[in-house]
Symmetry: C2
Subunit: 409 residues, 2 copies
């Protein structure tokens, strides 16, 4: 069953907001066997919204729309849908009750703008929004379905999980999309493709292998439509693993920090971090994973050199002799943070992230990463690029992957 | 001049990768006076790409495409464009030279897949990619322009900055889009809309006011086409500021952490942080801003209570008496981190981010934020939601905004 996603809002077209809603929806629908054929974004303009709906219904059977349903004047989706489906707004008492209940939980008063959100298109089926004041609207026209949802991510996600996906799954029999992914690191995309050239040639028809480069690693995804291919798919993944050899980190779609979480919990290990150039980003990645408190103790973000000396006991002479971005400094950091915070594992990084800074023989992009697992210490130098944000993200991923490989052995 | 952006890749349609390219391109084009009318994403399927191009040329004059130009077999954009423009691939010596130069800088060998990237459609004008091996292709057909770029963000961004945008600007006279934005906090979207109802009614025609909620604050954007309206626009923004009063934080499009960076540097202040529940995210936000080392000293990420006692000297009895999520604990944290790291300003947070945890009278979403500016300390309690990732992001934004308001007074 073919689906198109339309996200609505001027903020998307002027590049003020990244459209994460369509990614989330696409991910969920794919898992449930629906095929997303296109994603479109248009502005808060009735004519353009209607045009986008017409285009979408040419290539898809189900159309999921987010955005433009807030209480303010720039939100015009509901009125546009009334025009499109030749219907009019009418007060829906259930929606009004839901709005009042949500506002009272937050100690807020009903005002005129929020009251107006209880007016819904007469020909739509209404799904209550348990997280917000804008209802979800389900329209049908011949064999096509259109569902309008709020653009606020957690409101949309809750409605999708609770109502929209179950309703779609119940309604349609869908061919399942099966895929398996894995993470590889320490290899460029074209080197990897050369290594996998024969593997790709030998794949049965219907399979596709995708290369999804992230900062610091590449995710490979092998996929095929139809659940009956699952065993064969798993066998192909084993062949793939043998082919990429030492570059292979782990199977699955998990993020590096989620993989690390699993490995640390399985082995009952604890972790601390000492971050210079990544400024807390490694700690953040680790603590976004639920239950991080089971293994993660804390971080010393030693952005200034004084903090490296004061809280991490890095020797001042070592910094002067070898520079702050050096094997010697990250080794002291990784040893001392695990000693101070009493952990089995630790990560330490020091580097020049740019855009300014760096030394003559250590330009922007130079970074040292040390990881410690019990008594074993590994320290590696990397040469990254010039973009500060990418360098921080890449360093954090490389550091987490380095520890995963150490602990996973 | 109307523009559409098309991003290509199965990874977008199965929701494995967030499309940040189109946001970046839309932002840049808008600043240069182009009007982005739609953004579309389609998969690595020739028929769907051609269909999307046809649709785009119905509503736009310029079409910017990213993705599907890598060296691997799943990248089919170049071949599809050959079909679309009825042309064939031919070896381009300049592209080959560029590829060889890029590979040699990275100590990599030319392989067959990378060599094939030097074959380009005969009817296209080639722009060299200074950051990667896939060339940028510029096609013209009647009065329409299509530019194909790599999907790797920094390659695309560098080409856009250096070549594509200057070429587009030189070619077209464009009406400038003028807009002004500001940040407000401590108010819901519908409360804000009620406050601004009269202001919106009195706006001259052609103006639009957009509400862009982020986690912890709302950005308001007032916009109009045509540079001649700039003075009037500025006056309207002054009226808006008066209307939203105490909720107003700052003008501009900057992120909270960028605003904080400006304020601290202007006043020659230094900053440290003590993070419990945000696990390094505040430090990360602060250090993503270039030159953060000028004012930011470091952070103690005290994820475990032991670290609060050991490195932040939080009194064990206070934790037992008031709980770790309390006014008393964050005040000790904010005072002691600024003492230990010797800074004028500091931020401390402690809370329950979920999905598990919390106490009977302090459910998931409860967070205390303390900020210190010289001898002044402010401590505030917030009730957030149930989503861990949003809670971390919202807490980080609220904490940074709280300090901005303190320092900016």
């Amino acid at each position: 069953m073919k689906v198109e996603i339309i996200t609505i809002g001027d903020e998307l077209l002027i590049g003020q907001v990244i459209d994460t809603n369509s990614t989330w929806i696409a991910n969920q629908l794919t898992r449930h066997g629906f095929e997303v054929v296109a994603i479109s974004s248009v502005g808060d303009c009735s004519e353009n919204i209607i045009n986008a709906i017409d285009i979408a219904f040419e290539r898809a059977d189900i159309l999921l729309i987010t955005g433009g349903v807030g209480p303010t004047n720039d939100d015009i989706t509901k009125h546009t849908l009334c025009n499109y489906f030749h219907t009019a707004l009418e007060l829906n008492e259930d929606v009004l009750q839901n709005i009042e209940s949500i506002l009272s939980k937050r100690n807020l008063q009903l005002n005129k703008l929020t009251y107006n959100q209880a007016y819904v298109p007469a020909s739509s089926n209404v799904i209550q929004n348990s997280e917000g004041t804008a209802p979800i609207l389900w329209f049908e026209k011949e064999d096509k379905i259109l569902v309008s949802m709020p653009g606020v991510p957690y409101e949309m996600q809750t409605s999708m999980d609770k109502d929209v996906i179950p309703m779609l799954v119940k309604r349609f029999q869908v061919t399942e999309y099966v895929s398996r992914s894995c993470i590889v690191t320490g290899v460029t995309e074209s080197e990897l493709a050369s290594k996998l050239a024969d593997f790709e040639l030998l794949l049965p028809s219907g399979y596709s292998l995708a290369y999804l480069p992230s900062l610091g690693y590449i995710r490979l995804r092998l996929s095929v439509w139809g659940h009956e291919h699952l065993d064969e798919l798993k066998q192909q993944m084993r062949n793939l693993k043998k082919t990429v050899k030492a570059h292979y980190v782990s199977k699955g779609c998990k993020l590096p920090e989620e993989l690390l979480s699993e490995k640390l919990q399985n082995k009952n290990l604890t972790l601390s971090t000492a971050e210079s150039c990544t400024g807390g980003h490694i700690a953040h990645k680790i603590t976004v994973v639920p239950n991080a408190s089971k293994y993660y103790i804390g971080s010393i973000v030693s952005y200034a050199n004084s903090v490296k000396e004061q809280l991490l006991n890095v020797d001042k002479n070592t910094i002067e002799l070898h520079g702050v971005v050096s094997n010697e400094v990250v080794e002291q950091m990784v040893i001392n943070v695990s000693k101070t915070l009493n952990t089995n594992c630790s990560i330490a990084v020091s580097g020049y992230m740019g855009p300014d800074g760096g030394q003559k023989d250590q330009p922007v992009g130079t970074v040292w990463i040390a990881t410690k697992y019990n008594d074993e210490i590994l320290s590696q130098k990397h040469h990254l690029g010039l973009n500060r944000e990418y360098n921080i993200e890449r360093t954090a991923n490389l550091a987490i992957l380095q520890l995963i490989k150490m602990v996973g052995k």
